[in-house]
């Protein structure tokens, strides 16, 4: 899958290249607006990650040029401006999603996955990881066929973690997906940690194999083996 990253900050651009390449994406990087403009016009990509504030050509300009030619390619904009107006401008110009700097790489990956599988997302009825089974319709959880009693929020957190199967989920993502909190609220971090601790007590402690892992400084992941 070909991904174009237009980002003038070299460190960020390089880390994106490395990180995305490690995830098996074919990454091209443009460091200036001009370069991005040229690449967007000359080649076809499956996804464009676009910084809004660029020297030379502004990200919005590249976006509208791209949209004139091709309405399909999903575009994710990166912005340091988190003011509402900037997000609106970006989305109005045809961006499919935005991410505010600083962002968690885990979240970027999740967004990319969501954007590239748009349209062909089947509504799962049940999720499973190892011996953990989640019945999304009946809101029931079992592990090793033993029912586990979870509160609604605990269920939401576990579902979010399992859904992202194997990839790290940041606290910001949990806040957004489980608590529907778009404006970022610090106290929620502690609330999330409490819920994770409770989930561990219920889902992991009674069993020999641990499924919920903390990736320090990044977030949480549900995985079968402790790599």
């Amino acid at each position: 899958m070909r991904v174009l990253v237009v980002e003038d900050e070299r460190k960020i651009a390089e880390s994106l290249r490395k990180g995305l390449s490690a995830e098996q994406y074919d990454v091209s990087v443009a460091y200036t607006g001009e370069e991005g403009f040229y690449l967007v016009n000359a080649q076809t990509f499956d996804l464009v990650i676009l910084d809004i504030m660029l020297p030379g050509r502004d990200g919005i300009e590249i976006l509208s040029t791209l949209r004139k030619r091709d309405a399909q390619t999903p575009v994710l904009i990166l912005t340091a401006k988190d003011a509402v107006e900037d997000r609106v401008t970006g989305l109005d110009s045809g961006a499919d999603d935005y991410l505010t700097k600083p962002f968690a790489f885990a979240e970027l990956l999740a967004r990319i996955r969501a954007l590239t599988r748009r349209g062909r997302q089947e509504q799962a009825q049940a999720l499973r990881v190892a011996d953990l089974e989640m019945d999304l319709v009946g809101r029931r959880v079992t592990r090793d066929s033993q029912p586990i009693d979870l509160t609604a929020k605990e269920f939401g957190v576990l579902e979010c973690l399992v859904r992202h199967g194997g990839s790290v989920v940041s606290r910001d993502m949990l806040a957004r997906e489980v608590w529907n909190e778009t404006t970022w609220v610090a106290p929620l971090y502690n609330v999330i940690d409490v819920h994770i601790a409770r989930l561990r007590r219920k889902v992991d402690e009674p069993f020999p194999a641990k499924l919920i892992h903390t990736v320090r400084g990044v977030g949480f992941v549900v995985r079968e083996d402790d790599k």
Binding site: W179, P187, V194, V218
Partner: protein, 454 residues
């Protein structure tokens, strides 16, 4: 004139007023003296007339003797339009061919001006018309000299007035100039300087006092800004220092992969802390700049509080804190729910954070007299009386007991204060006499959905 200095304008106004007064005064003097001189002339002419007439009443020739004696030198006698006698002086001065230039005034071909007066003398058989004249030059000369003298005086007075006015205005305005140069010397670094107030009751004293109070306010806000900046830098430096040392130590160690992971994770935690801090600072900066755009929608406060309480209940449960919510149902207010929620979250989060295990946190919502009151009380250590004033200050963390290991950076209450005030409400710390904290938010509100969308 608008571009002139105040000094020049004052001087000109002053001189102009003075010139008007002096001019009126001079004109008065001139007219008085002139009238007096003319009256004298008239009296002399009358006297001449009666002298000539007395002589002519006997014989016209006798009148000539008057001329010869030099009593009256300029006269002419006529009878029925015919000249019967002329004084030698009359002819000599060329008065016979003089033409009148004004009533009672004639001018000779030699451009000399004479004042004349006519009368009549009755002899036994005829009526003799007498015209006497007197030289007008001495009178006119006197008046001319007087006029010139007065004009010269006027010019001198005007000059003096201008000079004096300029000096006076300068003296009056000198303190203003001094004030200006003092004020010019006051920069951001010297905001503690004040203008000297010589007389607090006069206009300049009041001006200086006003200026000084403005300076005091400026100094205060500069101080706060300085403190804020230094606090902010300190708070920013702490996670930076942690990141630097963790990173450096991890590099020195010939440690294994897991240890490096641990170090990187630790650094990422600090990055999160930094990001949170920067986010809070941005919120406050936007609040200060007034660029935060708030919505105003009818909001169910009861619902908002329940939502926040439910959200944070997990934290309270962890510490076995009893979190209770008592509320009047259906209290509505026109606010920005996202911003107001942040205030309530911050208050409740603080309450849970600082209340010891097994304590109590209570949230209540009441409605009275068109105002909703949200109260968050806890059974924590409370806030020392001497710190009450500073509770809402940025980076206030209340001494050592509320140190940074509680996780906050001390901006929560500052943000809460802004959030409540921006929604037209008020936030205060109620006195609980050492029985924990009680924060009270009051907002203009309605009961029973009265502020429904309109």
């Amino acid at each position: 004139m608008r571009h002139w200095s105040i000094r020049a304008r004052l001087t000109v106004y002053y001189a102009f007023a003075l010139a008007l007064i002096i001019l009126a005064f001079c004109a008065g003097i001139y007219w008085l003296i002139r009238a007096d001189l003319l009256q004298q002339m008239n009296a002399q002419l009358s006297q001449d007339l009666s002298t000539v007439s007395r002589a002519a009443r006997k014989e016209p020739e006798e009148a000539m003797e008057v001329a010869e004696e030099g009593l009256v030198t300029l006269f002419v006698l006529q009878s029925q339009g015919r000249v019967i006698a002329t004084a030698p002086g009359w002819r000599h001065e060329g008065l016979q061919s003089a033409r009148p230039i004004a009533p009672g005034i004639v001018q000779t071909p030699q451009h000399r001006v004479y004042y004349t007066k006519q009368g009549a003398a009755h002899t036994r058989d005829s009526r003799i018309e007498i015209t006497v004249a007197r030289d007008g030059e001495p009178l006119r000369h006197t008046l001319r000299s007087l006029g010139l003298a007065l004009l010269a005086g006027l010019a001198c007075a005007l000059g003096l007035a201008l000079a004096g006015g300029y000096v006076l205005a300068g003296r009056v305005l000198a303190p203003v100039g001094a004030m200006a140069s003092t004020a010019r010397a006051i920069t951001a670094d010297r905001l503690s300087d004040r203008l000297p107030v010589h007389n607090p009751d006069d206009e300049l004293g009041r001006l200086a006092a006003t200026f000084n109070s403005t300076l005091a306010r400026l100094e205060d806000s500069f101080d706060r800004l300085r403190r804020f900046t230094s606090d902010a830098s300190h708070e920013l430096r702490t996670p930076l220092a942690a990141m630097k040392s963790v990173g450096e130590v991890a590099l020195r160690d010939e440690a294994d992969f897991a240890a490096h992971r641990e170090a990187i994770g630790s650094m990422l935690e600090e990055v999160d802390r930094l990001a949170r801090l920067v986010d809070s600072l941005l919120t406050l900066t936007r609040a200060d700049a007034g660029t935060a755009t708030l919505s105003s929608v009818p909001t169910d406060l009861s619902g908002l509080i329940s939502e926040v309480a439910d959200c944070l209940r997990a934290l309270a449960d962890e510490k076995q804190i009893a979190l209770s919510v008592t509320e009047d149902a259906d209290v509505w207010a026109r606010v920005d729910p996202v911003v107001l929620k942040q205030a309530v979250i911050n208050l409740l989060d603080n309450a849970v954070k600082y209340t010891p295990q097994g304590g109590q946190v209570r949230v209540s919502l009441a409605h009275a007299d068109g105002r909703a009151t949200i109260e968050v009380t806890d059974t924590g250590p409370g806030i020392p009386r001497e710190d009450r004033e500073r509770v809402f200050d940025r980076f206030y963390r209340g001494g050592k007991s509320r140190s940074s290991d509680s996780g906050g950076v001390g901006l929560g209450l500052a943000i809460a204060e802004w959030a409540v005030q921006a929604n037209g409400g008020n936030i205060e710390l109620a006195d609980r006499e050492g029985r924990g904290c009680a924060f009270r938010i009051t907002l203009p509100s309605e009961k029973g959905g009265g502020v429904s969308s309109s």
